[in-house]
């Protein structure tokens, strides 16, 4: 076996950006543990998250109009070496993840103090950084097995993070355990699928696999691989029948964790699904298989309605938001199932818009829970007066969830309906707006509880501090901002969609 000598090309910091994106939080995690100081844990976490955010902006600026960056880890050229491949689709996801992380961390500073005993804080932030690393790695990499590795890094730290909610409610432990079992099964399915792919193509580099599948055509092995991969990732995405871990996990985890995860974890998993479906398996194969139209579309529609209905009947705000997330993921899957550029752009922009909306809402409910001791509707009744800023932010987030024009949620809903009408699928367009109306009902329950009901208990609460209000309002204002100034999100989404549909994204 010949070893390839890597050419010594002088590389600047900008060239190393793709790997820095993952390395910064990756190094910061053990740094936090080594430093061992509770005071330093948060600053280190925040700084590394902020740095990662800057890196993601720089990366997005480079690829927003359709280029690709290919970075060879260690100088080893693919397909033998591991490659990080950045294009509009994953740069956008990287931006979302790092952005959410940086905004949630100031919020976490306060909420973690309330939710978790002091002695665990250092390890909490270490795990948080590991989770961030994992998510970023999944998004940045161009090697299929690398996806699995980072996916498991992020998942394992997620299980730990969720279990931290046990100091408030012991059901967090069983929620974490259930998620562990289901998540591991999902990841293992993914690995099985990967194994079949490797057997069929002999390589692990995603671009290379795509080429070889394109050459060979589809065989039963490849189809089996597709099935396993889609189901495995589908579990992480919380596709309708595989979503049962989500409500408990989101409800019982500490608020900072839920805010972070709800906005990022499922979104990254959707990105992986998109990447495999379009870049690796190619749209041509997909049209052959017709999986999307006959399996994902019905499941997406069922998710949109069933989960929304369940959300309406919840009496816990946090749990309602969790079910609402399942429904919103249904929208994203619906956009993917359209298999058109508008549909994919709708899905990708909803990925972003829903992320910022849910971050705002979960942070809001966390603030309410902090002050009132719970998130049930009756506990938070009347908080509209006592905590006006938090409640106002929740209203904005709620309006974005419904999809009122002027908010981010509207933009993606618009694209979804447009995509449906483009394909002439009238019933689907009507289903989309009908489920938005369901969202009106469950959001309005919250608004009524906050503003129109008297507090049921003696209220000694007051507004939360700026550490928490700041991030909540940053997210709420971004919901409005990205609802009106849609330039960045739409350009990125359309570039990404065009690239994904073209199939061999940036392939040589």
């Amino acid at each position: 076996m010949a070893t390839e000598t890597a050419q010594h090309v002088a590389m600047t910091l900008t060239d190393h950006l793709p790997v820095l994106q993952v390395l910064v939080p990756f190094v910061a995690a053990p740094l936090v543990v080594v430093l061992g100081s509770r005071q330093l844990a948060w600053p280190v976490a925040f700084i590394s998250s902020a740095l990662a955010f800057v890196v993601s902006i720089l990366l997005l600026m480079q690829v927003i109009d359709g280029g690709t960056i290919s970075y060879h880890i260690g100088g080893w050229a693919p397909p033998l070496g591991i490659e990080y491949r950045i294009d509009a689709a994953n740069a956008f996801v990287l931006l979302l993840v790092t952005g959410i992380s940086t905004v949630v961390l100031p919020y976490a500073r306060q909420s973690v103090q309330a939710d978790i005993p002091d002695r665990h804080h250092t390890l909490f932030y270490a795990c948080y950084l590991l989770c961030l690393t994992g998510l970023l790695g999944v998004a940045a990499t161009g090697d299929a097995f690398n996806v699995f590795v980072f996916l498991e890094i992020s998942s394992l730290s997620t299980y730990v993070l969720i279990a931290q909610g046990s100091y408030k409610d012991k059901r967090a432990l069983t929620a974490a355990y259930d998620y562990l079992i289901m998540g591991t099964i999902g990841a293992t399915f993914f690995v099985i699928g990967l194994g079949f792919l490797y057997m069929a193509t002999g390589t692990l580099n995603m671009a290379d696999i795509a080429e070889r599948i394109a050459d060979q055509g589809s065989s039963r092995t490849v189809r089996a691989a597709f099935a396993f991969i889609v189901v495995g990732i589908g579990l992480k995405v919380a596709v309708y029948p595989l979503h049962t871990w989500l409500p408990n996990a989101y409800t019982y985890a500490p608020s900072a964790v839920t805010s972070f995860l709800a906005a990022t974890a499922t979104k990254v998993a959707i990105y992986v699904m998109l990447r495999f479906m379009f870049s690796v398996f190619q749209p041509a194969f997909m049209f052959e298989v017709n999986t999307l139209e006959y399996i994902i579309l019905p499941f997406a529609v069922v998710a949109m309605f069933a989960a929304s209905f369940i959300a309406i009947f919840q009496s816990d705000f946090k749990r309602m938001l969790a079910y609402s997330s399942v429904a919103q993921i249904g929208y994203i899957l619906l956009g993917i199932a359209f298999l058109s550029e508008t549909g994919l752009a709708a899905a990708i922009s909803h990925l972003f818009n829903h992320g910022i909306t849910k971050a705002a809402l979960f942070m809001g409910v966390g603030a309410l829970a902090l002050r009132t001791g719970g998130s049930f509707y009756d506990r938070i009744a009347g908080m509209g007066r006592v905590m006006p800023f938090t409640s106002a932010a929740i209203v904005i987030g709620g309006l974005s969830l419904i999809g009122v024009p002027g908010t981010a949620g509207f933009v993606s809903k618009w694209l979804l309906v447009e995509a449906a009408l483009e394909k002439g699928w009238w019933p689907v367009a009507l289903l989309i707006v009908a489920s938005s109306l369901l969202a009106v009902i469950y959001v309005w329950r919250v608004i009524e509880a906050l503003y129109l009901h008297k507090p049921a208990y003696e209220v000694t609460a007051k507004e939360v501090s700026l550490w928490m209000l700041g991030p909540i309002w940053i997210m709420a204002l971004s919901c409005i901002y990205f609802g009106l100034a849609t330039d960045i999100t739409l350009t990125a989404a359309r570039s990404a969609a065009a690239g994904l549909l073209a199939g061999t994204i940036g392939l040589h």
């Binding site: 009122v404 024009p405 707006v433 109306l437 739409l490």
Partner: protein, 486 residues
């Protein structure tokens, strides 16, 4: 001042008033005075636009691009300017009335009330000056959201229930139907800009035109076309200044204004006439006119009766658009102003009666006319305008509508308009009659006229109904570019 600046100011001034209401919530006179100043300022700004632009149409001013081909943009055109004048002018009147009502009735949360009021007016200005369907839709939804707290203001279980119906129907129709219509329009034409003569010609044909029109007509829930009219009576749980606002100024007029804009600038009157797509709408509007009037006759609660009267009157305007003739459109546009003046008078009188006597049912109001003469005379004037008798303004718009109906050869519709006037007499005049000509309880003798801030605005708008009669031809002249061949 420069027109584009003026347009932005008409939205910013009320928005600023929201802030002052919150900031000065504990100093009632300062707070209400500032809001009054804002109302006057907004009206003057709109008048300045009138002075500069007259009944011309300006170039759209683009704020920013939201989707490719769709911007947040504003411009001035005759119908919108008329709507803005009506809305901003009546805001002054309603605000004065609102001060009187809220203080006279000892209502709670004045600051929140006036803040939401101002926010709603800001949204109305946005609707009036929108240059494309997207901008209009955005402010339309904003109007729903900002008026919800007003409807739910009292916080009682009835208020919450009424507010739910209000929101449910309005958002249900706008997201469920109107949004689909808007996206469909964009998808087939690539634009949503309001263009004289419509943008749909050539892109859509056959029964699809009627389907699209149906999506718009039912989607514009604020126009209270049956069967999506239930929100209007449900919203009566709100304090009366809100009902005056909803039924004369903001919400309902925004609804029929949108209906007219869609008819004139999205479909195009000629296109509608050619394809005959609006014939079904004519009949539905006619049905609503009659049915709502009949229901109004059965209501003993004064505000409920007025609510159904509004449902009926709104369909006059919808009918005007559906007739797809120039007289019909002009009549509809003029009716925006005429009905606004008349209905706001009626509602303010109803509210004055409530403030003075705490009575809400007509059967309880016998003989009150003698105790509250100004209120009841104002009510009479408003009623006559709604009925459509000269020398009140309402007669002109009704006349134009009848001519428009004659133009289409639909004699039945003329009959409908006539019958509706008779029904209006039947449900409005008895109230006045009871008040003046029947003997009431002794208790009524002790009742005095409503506070100054309540009867004066009502009297003013009653006077307005009379004055509008004489300016009706000017209004028709003003609106004529809408239907002229350019």
């Amino acid at each position: 001042m420069e027109t584009n600046t003026a347009i932005i100011l008409t939205m910013l001034i009320p928005a600023g008033s929201v802030v002052t209401n919150i900031l000065f919530r504990n100093s009632p006179n300062l707070r209400d005075g500032l809001t009054l100043t804002a109302a006057v300022a907004t009206f003057l700004t709109v008048l300045s636009i009138l002075a500069t632009v007259g009944n011309g149409t300006t170039e759209p001013m683009v704020l920013f691009e939201v989707f490719p081909g769709i911007d947040l943009a504003f411009n001035v055109e005759p119908l919108g300017l008329l709507f803005a004048i009506v809305a901003s002018g009546l805001w002054i009147v309603t605000h004065l009335y609102g001060i009187g009502y809220m203080r006279g009735n000892n209502e709670s949360d004045h600051a929140r009330f006036f803040a939401c009021f101002s926010a709603a007016i800001s949204a109305v200005m946005g609707i009036a000056f929108s240059a494309n369907m997207f901008t209009l839709f955005l402010f339309y939804e904003l109007l729903t959201v900002t008026t919800y707290p007003l409807v739910a203001h009292k916080g009682t279980p009835e208020a919450i229930k009424g507010a739910r119906t209000y929101l449910g129907i309005l958002i249900g129709t706008s997201i469920g139907l109107q949004l689909v219509a808007v996206i469909w329009t964009y998808q087939i034409t690539g634009t949503l800009d309001f263009t004289k003569g419509g943008i749909l010609e050539g892109h859509i044909a056959g029964p699809m035109v009627a389907v699209l029109l149906a999506l718009y007509a039912f989607g514009i829930g604020k126009a209270a076309l049956m069967p999506f009219h239930r929100w209007l009576p449900a919203a009566m749980v709100a304090p009366t200044p809100v009902s005056a606002l909803l039924h004369a100024v903001a919400v309902v007029k925004a609804g029929v204004f949108t209906m007219l804009k869609v008819g004139i600038y999205i479909f195009g009157i000629d296109f509608l006439a050619e394809t005959g797509a609006s014939v079904w709408l004519m009949w539905l509007a006619a049905f609503t006119i009659i049915a709502a009037s009949i229901v109004a006759m059965t209501k003993d609660n004064l505000k409920a009766r007025l609510a159904y009267s509004t449902v009926s009157q709104l369909s006059y305007i919808t009918l005007g658009m559906a007739l797809a003739t120039s007289m019909g459109v002009l009549g509809g546009g003029m009716h925006i102003a005429m009905h606004a003046a008349g209905k706001i008078t009626l509602f303010m009188c109803a509210g004055s009666i409530y403030v003075a006597t705490h009575k809400t049912n007509i059967s309880q109001m016998t003989g009150l006319g003698r105790a509250m003469p100004i209120t009841f005379v104002a009510f009479l004037v408003g009623a006559l305008s709604i009925i459509g008798l000269p020398p009140l303004g309402g007669s002109w718009s009704k006349w134009l509508l009848i001519v428009g109906a004659a133009d289409t050869g639909q004699w039945v519709l003329i009959g409908v308009l006539m019958v509706s006037s008779l029904l209006n007499v039947a449900y409005l005049l008895p109230i006045v009659g009871r008040g003046f000509f029947l003997a009431g309880d002794e208790a009524h003798a002790k009742i005095a006229e409503a506070p100054l801030l309540c009867w004066l605005p009502a009297a003013t708008t009653a006077l307005g109904c009379i004055i509008l009669f004489f300016y009706a031809s000017d209004i028709q002249e003003f609106l004529s570019p809408l239907v002229a061949d350019s």
